[in-house]
Amino acid sequence: MIRFSLNGKTLEADTSPNTTLLDFLRQEQRLTGTKEGCAEGDCGACTVALLDPDAVGGPAWRAINSCLTLLPMVNGRTLVTVEGLSDGETLHPAQQAVVERLGSQCGYCTPGVVMSLFESCYRDDAASEAAQSDQMCGNLCRCTGYRPIQDAAKDVAGCRPADRFAAALVPAVTDPSGAWTRGDESWSMPDDWSVFFDAVEQEEAQIVCGATDLGLQVTQRGVRFSTLVSVESLPGLRDLHVDGDVVHIGAAVPLTDLERFAAEELPVVARMLRFFGSRQIKHRATLGGNLCNASPIGDMAPVMLALDATLVLRSRAGERELPIREFFLGYRQTALAAGEVVAAIRVRKPGPSARVGAYKVSRRREMDISAVALGAWVEVSDGLVIAARLGFGGMAATPKRASALEAALVGQPWTIDAVERLIGHLDEDFQPLSDHRGSAWYRQTVAKNLVRGFVEETEHASFQALPDRPLSTIVQVSK
């Protein structure tokens, strides 16, 4: 049995753990305001808001894709759907802005748009155009051309009405943990490591956290998992802190939390996260999940390779550390042993002589999967490269470092001319494939150009932040 608050009422549900939140709302509760547009987390029509008391920056409303959220994940939590916003006939500011700006035409994407705007109302970090675009990029609209939605976003960002939703943003203890079985399907979210290890030792146990990828198997392929085990409530997994010059990132830290934290502490990570999925996805996706997925096109892996992150792996036997360069063994294969999970990721902050960058090229700038991604780090001393790490995504069966080019760069001047002479080494490192995201030619050409862009950005600076509205993944350096 799970219990949660929906639009101010406490609900109990006893359905299959493979039930999505969207299906529960629409089929069981007949709350049909929330729409299914794609059931793959790409259109945002299903967006609802979840209260997260543990968010970095304080308790926050968070827009999430209900189509990818499994119902047990909201156990013990507080949820609002589009039906719960207005106060009688008085519309919420997020709703009012859409009405006034003509932000709805056919109206089908609108509930999702409204819920993303709703989150934005209570944010204290959504003043910039970049933040507003990031907030709304997970809501596809086919009618309006977005201009009125953009205007509505500008109207409401950070307006924080003094209402019951603002009042709910107070420190609170949420306990989503628990376990139950329904028929031959079971769910558990242990808050204790030993219980967790018991659970994962069951036959067919499937570890899950935000389900932003796993959920697709349920919605697109009709998979019914028999034994789901969530890491979300394990002690320490949302830990996020700096210890000396090492940043410790719990494996279950949502990427939005990481993005906000990294803006100060690890700007190169924040730079990649700006064009990583939608806000809805980043609220549920985690760094641990992105790395364990081991997709060749997972965007955080290249950055973590460049930063030479250390993975803290935990099993019943205890903890061990593994450099990330040894983690990816093959296509979607990792070095995790049976019964072992990634508990944390540790990253040393780039030192003063380091040059770093993060790049992503995809068909669409926002909310798309990479054709090529690059995380880049070089250490420069007296104008010469003393070490280099270039982590690429989309170029091989795994996220992979350009070791031939890295080796060639060492001892060479960090200048455009020197890199130009050496860039051909990338052909030794990669023979990418052609697919609908890009041809082999495009990937190889862009990969080289990203390295060129990196040296141009960092010849005289350690790092360039993205402008508010970047047209290219490479930052233009004024001369």
Partner: protein, 754 residues
């Protein structure tokens, strides 16, 4: 006067949209005995269907029935014009995703699971997937449609410059946010079908035909669509028919709502086109001859391909006068989903050809591309290729205004200076004018009906044949009715569109919804109002023509009586308070045999400038600024019309820049979800987006002096393509940018010049 006509106002359902109260097909409360349908489809693109094994599907617990072609009680043929589409496959399959059988079950899950158990025996044959293959095999849905004038060969021979090219444009998924949905409920005497269709009458007609019943036994109702864009004009019917079959056989309400991947793989898209042209210009840049052969990829059935081809031919001239020409168009038959209507309906594909010629002609002659276009504009009195004479042409006026407001000359010079000193980052500015013919090209379709009911308490129900799919039709119709009856908007309830209120309707398509239905609503409301007038005059003690109907009152001089009181007295006096209304567009006709006629009631005009910035290292680019001036006549609702212009532009931008349908070698769609098929997102729109509506531009003979706005601005996205050409061309030479102009496509064009 406080008439809502010609005033900006929010969408009539806006509050319903933002609260989630607005209902779509899948949101309708399901009676407790509702069953669910799923479709079993072909997994090969072409072959002989030798058998269909249904036993396993039928045996699954919860399955109520599995039905194939043999079970169809009426005719197994649907299709909007030529009825050439088997609803369920018979002895052959024609595309990957073709419906083989429909399953009805207690739940959606069981229905889908059972559909997966339907096992066809198919002997595969080699599919034809591309236009080039179809052309080579001479496999066409249509004969050549030819429009010709003068001696084009002679004109080309005498031209100062001849440019020639094959222009290819791609398909486009509609990506309406609401997938196809149908809900068929048995009622006494027949069926009620709620469908997400732009064409309720076609759903009614085809459901009746498939069930072998008269049309009167079927009611089709549509409250609203979650987007249509043409994709629900003809193609909603097949799903409505399948749900209706389920309801017919089981006697239970049956719902069929497609998953996104099903919708994308099974339904047709915008037609890809190939245009082979030769265009001749004289030394001053005037077009002297234009010879074009165009082909479209029709897919497996004819659907609307023939009129889409007609409209492509009608728009091969875009805004330009062409003295000598020969246009020929044919629809290719392929083993793909049947391509169908999509905003612009062939117009954009036709315009793509001549705009390519304009760009190449300007480059060849060294004339500014805007100037070259202006020299070729139609002027009043010119005849289009098919003989229709144009008047009230607003192209020069629009261009003059826009040149100034967009500051084109200075900005182009600045851009050229910038490009000369920038290694990787290049900018470009592009321009396109548009002229778009308004009317269904099948002239008989230009008719509409309405039904207005005034109740004795002064409240009103409004019905007409048009469907609301986000374009704001209902908002405009409410304003027309309120203005005509002289009542407040809150006195009128707009009813769901239903074939039991207005029969024999045309699709809400061709940008014609407001023109046609507005005139019918005006007619109906005028009839009722004029019946009420003498009664109002009696109450006000004045002459009938002294009565004004304003804002819920009947007014004469200083006296007034509430509209409701007049309505009540009409009832007491036994005067009818309801009326139908009807409209048919006068004076249009076209003869495809001779390629001559007056297919359009009028033309819509507009123009746009677009500026881009490109990174030559990745091919990534963005729109820096867009300036649009669109002629919508005297707008019935400027804020809704602006929304149409912006939405159409961004949708056109998606088609030309990022959206790409990919099929594998076996004819299976590879891009069947938003994870792989990318439509524009919020960050893709112009950073500076300036949209204006042409003022002082009433259109005579159209409701309220307005003009159609749904489709024309889609064409304005070609300005972005011109801007990319300018930016890429700064590397020296003629850029060859394949569409969609993805980042890869742009990088290829740059690398070819560098």
């Amino acid at each position: 006067m406080s008439s809502p006509l010609h005033k900006s106002a929010s969408h009539e359902s806006a509050v319903g949209h933002v609260t989630g109260r607005a209902r779509y097909v899948d949101d309708i409360a399901e009676p407790h005995d509702t069953a669910h349908a799923a479709v079993a489809t072909s997994t090969v693109a072409a072959g002989r269907l030798l058998g269909l094994e249904l036993t396993a599907a039928r045996a699954l617990p919860g399955v109520l029935g599995v039905y194939s072609a043999a079970d169809i009680p009426g005719v197994n043929r649907i299709g909007p014009i030529v009825h050439d589409e088997p609803l369920l496959a018979e002895d052959q399959v024609f595309f990957h995703g073709q419906a083989l059988a429909v399953v009805v079950a207690e739940t959606r899950e069981v229905a889908r699971a059972a559909a997966a158990l339907v096992k066809p025996q198919i002997e595969p044959t080699l599919p034809v997937l591309t236009m080039d293959e179809a052309i080579e095999r001479a496999d066409f849905h249509t004969d050549a449609h030819v429009i010709a004038r003068g001696d084009v060969e002679q004109a080309l021979a005498s031209a100062a410059v001849v440019v020639e090219q094959d222009v290819r444009t791609g398909g486009q998924d509609h990506f309406y946010l609401e997938t196809h949905g149908s809900f068929a409920q048995p009622v006494e005497g027949g069926l009620k079908v709620t469908s997400s269709t732009q064409h309720p009458t076609e759903v009614q007609r085809e459901v009746a035909a498939v069930l072998g019943k008269p049309a009167s036994t079927v009611v089709c109702e549509v409250a609203r669509l979650g987007g249509g864009f043409g994709g629900k004009e003809s193609q909603a019917s097949q799903f409505a028919c399948l749900a209706a079959m389920g309801a017919h056989f089981t006697g239970r309400p049956v719902k069929l709502v497609l998953k996104r991947h099903e919708d994308m793989a099974w339904t047709g898209n915008r037609h890809p086109f190939l245009g082979r042209y030769r265009a001749g210009f004289d030394a001053q840049g005037k077009l002297v001859g234009f010879a074009v052969k165009i082909y479209s990829n029709g897919g497996w059935t004819s659907d609307l391909s023939s009129p889409v081809m007609d409209r492509a031919l009608f728009h091969l001239d875009n805004a330009y006068r062409i003295p000598a020409l020969r246009f020929e168009g044919r629809v290719c038959r392929t083993n793909l989903p049947s391509n169908t209507a999509f905003r612009g309906f062939g117009g954009p594909q036709g315009v793509a050809v001549i705009e390519d010629a304009m760009e190449r002609g300007a480059a060849a002659l060294g004339i500014d591309p805007v100037e070259l276009r202006r020299r070729n504009y139609y002027v009043d009195g010119d005849a289009c290729p098919y003989g229709q004479v144009v008047d009230n042409v607003r192209l020069q006026r629009i261009t003059d205004q826009l040149l100034e407001s967009a500051d084109y000359v200075a900005r182009r010079a600045e851009i050229d200076a910038f490009n000369a000193s920038s290694r990787w980052i290049r900018r470009g500015i592009g321009f396109v004018p548009l002229k778009f013919g308004i009317s269904f090209t099948a002239s008989l379709l230009n008719q509409a009906g309405a039904l207005v009911l005034v109740y004795a308490d002064g409240s009103v129900q409004l019905n007409h044949g048009g469907t609301e799919m986000g374009q704001g039709l209902y908002s405009k119709m409410l304003a027309v009715a309120a203005d005509t009856l002289g009542v407040r908007l809150d006195q009128i309830r707009h009813m769901a569109t239903s074939t039991e209120k207005v029969p024999n309707t045309s699709a809400t398509a061709a940008s014609s919804g407001t023109d046609l239905n507005g005139a019918a609503v005006l007619d109906a409301c005028t009839t009722v109002r004029e019946r009420m007038r003498p009664v109002a005059a009696e109450m006000l003690d004045c002459k009938p023509d002294a009565v004004r109907f304003v804002d819920g009152s009947c007014v004469a001089g200083d006296s007034s009586v509430p509209f409701a009181d007049v309505a009540n007295l009409c009832w007491v006096k036994q005067i009818s308070l309801s009326s139908t209304g009807y409209y048919a567009t006068p004076g249009i006709a076209y003869d495809a045999e001779t390629g001559r006629g007056t297919p359009f009631f009028y033309y819509a005009y507009g123009a746009a400038f677009a500026e881009v910035e490109v990174d030559a290292r990745t091919g990534q680019y963005g729109l820096v600024r867009v300036d649009i001036l669109q002629d919508v006549g005297d707008s019935l609702n400027p804020s809704i019309d602006r929304g149409q212009v912006e939405g159409a532009f961004v949708q056109g931008l998606g088609w030309l820049t990022v959206e790409e349908l990919i099929y594998d070698d076996s004819g299976r769609m590879a891009t069947h979800g938003p994870s792989t098929y990318k439509i524009p997102a919020v960050g893709d729109i112009p950073a500076d987006f300036r949209v204006a509506l042409l003022d002082r531009s009433a259109q005579e003979g159209v409701i309220g002096g307005s003009k159609a706005v749904g489709e024309p601005p889609f064409l304005l996205a070609f300005a972005a393509l011109g801007a990319l050409r300018h930016a890429v061309g700064s590397f020296g030479g003629l850029p060859e940018i394949a569409v969609p102009a993805t980042h890869e496509s742009v990088l290829r064009a740059i690398e070819a010049l560098r």
